[in-house]
């Protein structure tokens, strides 16, 4: 365990050092984040015109969902996208073999090797929006509520990571998976809105098949101070299931991996 922590510190230290070289990029990242947030707020605002509410959620409650979505998007740009898009390059160039030879878990190495500074402001903005909106919605944070919220945010991040990793793993067979990740991104945009805003069929699809509901709506319920045992257990079950799936899938993929140069 200590070895992994030490490795992680080295990984991120070097990533930080190399990225402070490109400061102008950060400005564009901030601009893009601002634009994205403004656009999302505007769209949710459109739904609230005429006082209909959105799937039974009030304006500040819907903003908690958006805050969590922004947080997840930030984690994707900070950790998931930079690392997992490199798996594809490594399969193509044959450098995956070097990773497999290292005396460390290959999934750990591939998932944490680097991080992008540009996504951090988005994580911050997401957390702020979530906290502010929860306060505006009148949530009273008790110890149990905070604990449930933290657990459910953890499960949401685990599910998101597993989905990304499974898709990135398919590059062992298909080499090019850029478009597959685009499909995932498009599907996850569904999480910008509470799942109850969708018609019945999509609601079921987003809960059972593609766990969009567990990514944003379920943690939002907990943040708003209405966590319930079924959702808590469901979320934890989903997270364990998806994480185990991603590991099993990676082991399976490795058995099919034939090195590029031979």
């Amino acid at each position: 365990m200590g070895r992994y922590l030490k490795t992680l510190r080295r990984f991120w230290g070097t990533a930080l050092a190399s990225q402070t070289e490109y400061q102008a990029n950060l400005l564009f990242d901030l601009l893009a984040m601002g634009g994205n947030l403004a656009g999302s707020l505007f769209m949710i605002g459109l739904f609230f015109q005429g006082g209909r509410g959105l799937g039974g959620w009030t304006w500040p409650e819907a903003l908690v969902v958006l805050g969590i979505y922004t947080l997840l998007d930030g984690v994707s740009s900070t950790l998931l996208r930079p690392n997992l898009s490199r798996i594809v390059t490594q399969v193509q160039e044959g450098t995956l073999d070097f990773v497999l030879l290292k005396p460390i878990d290959s999934q750990f190495w591939l998932s944490t090797r680097t991080f992008a500074l540009g996504g951090l402001p988005e994580i911050g903005a997401g957390l702020l929006l979530m906290a502010w909106a929860a306060r505006a919605a009148g949530a009273r944070p008790s110890l149990a509520v905070v604990a449930a919220a933290v657990v459910l945010l953890g499960t949401s991040l685990t599910i998101l990571y597993s989905l990304w990793f499974v898709l990135a793993t398919t590059s062992i067979w298909f080499v090019k998976t850029w478009n597959a990740t685009e499909v995932l991104r498009a599907t996850l945009t569904a999480g910008r809105y509470p799942v109850t805003a969708y018609p019945q069929t999509l609601r079921v699809l987003f809960t059972v098949v593609i766990p969009v509901a567990f990514l944003t709506t379920v943690p939002a319920e907990a943040v708003l101070g209405r966590p319930s045992w079924p959702w808590l257990l469901g979320g934890a079950g989903m997270a364990v299931l998806f994480f185990a799936l991603s590991r099993a899938f990676w082991q399976l993929a490795l058995r099919f991996h034939t090195s590029a140069s031979s």
Binding site: F28, W178, T187, Y198
Partner: protein, 282 residues
């Protein structure tokens, strides 16, 4: 006369080779078509929202057309037709010049292209057209599936309308292609062109009408948006295709104006940029 014959031959050969090239990537392109599902997601949200206005209890939202369900003056049927049209229009107006150009410039493939007696932008244009031809069957299939899900919205536009909608989509693609070329050409001056492209994508997402028809925007925002090219690229052709009431002349005038502005600007900047361009490596 000989020049025309030569041009026609070049165009034919380019289109044929690019089409063959794109066919190899048909699985990729099918996935890409699938990633354009956002308008259909928004369709289900907006229709559900329109139903809420009628029956606040929210029962039976998925079954059949409920009479009178409307939002901002748009009925359920109009919403469904609009978003399906927006999905189709989006599929045929996508441009990816920035990414192709950036890669070509980085890998040094641009230099030989500059030596050929053919403007490199033609090459990108033909590859876009070939990619759209490859995409056509997937888009038709997806649109068909979605019409099956909302059978009460099925429609067939009048032949005149269909023709106008196709023309508007072609012009809209030309505008979007030129906007992207303009951003790509900025690669000659800065390595941040792809960062600029991210901002462009965002503006396209929120202002073009992909996520909500402009009729639902507050009037001031709608007017401001109409001064940008984005609503004319998606919203206008989609409304035409959906058979909605609209001022077609104004839409075509706006598209023509943007073309008249962007085409000379792009070509001028291209010429200035190529003069600055110094190839990397040996």
């Amino acid at each position: 006369m000989r020049r025309v014959a030569r041009l026609a031959r070049v165009a034919r050969v380019l289109l044929a080779t690019q089409y063959a090239h794109m066919l190899e990537y048909r699985a990729e392109i099918a996935l890409w078509a699938l990633s354009g599902l956002v308008p259909l997601l928004m369709m289900s949200l907006w229709i559900h929202q329109a139903d809420m206005g009628v029956a606040p209890s929210g029962g039976g939202a998925a079954s059949g057309a409920e009479l009178g369900a409307a939002i901002g003056g748009l009925s359920r049927v109009e919403l469904a037709r609009y978003f399906i049209s927006a999905f189709i229009v989006r599929q045929f107006t996508v441009a990816w010049v920035v990414f192709a150009f950036e890669e070509d410039a980085l890998q040094g493939r641009l230099s030989p292209m500059l030596l050929q007696p053919l403007h490199p932008l033609w090459r990108y244009l033909t590859s876009h057209l070939a990619e759209q031809a490859t995409r056509l069957p997937f888009v038709a299939g997806l649109a068909g599936i979605f019409l099956l899900l909302v059978p009460w919205a099925a429609w067939w536009p009048a032949p005149g309308r269909l023709l106008l909608a196709v023309l508007a989509t072609v012009l809209a693609f030309a505008v979007n292609f030129l906007v992207q070329c303009l951003i790509a050409v900025l690669c000659f001056w800065s390595e941040r062109a792809s960062a600029l492209e991210r901002l462009h994508t965002l503006a396209m997402l929120f202002l073009s009408g992909l996520m909500a028809p402009l009729e639902l925007f507050p009037p001031a925002v709608r007017q401001a948006a109409q001064w940008t090219p984005f609503p004319w690229i998606i919203h206008f052709p989609a409304r035409l295709l959906a058979g909605a009431e609209l001022d077609a002349a104004a839409g075509f005038a706006a598209l023509a104006a943007w073309l008249a502005l962007l085409l000379p600007l792009t070509l001028l900047l291209w010429r200035a940029g190529v003069r600055r361009y110094a190839a990397m490596g040996s």
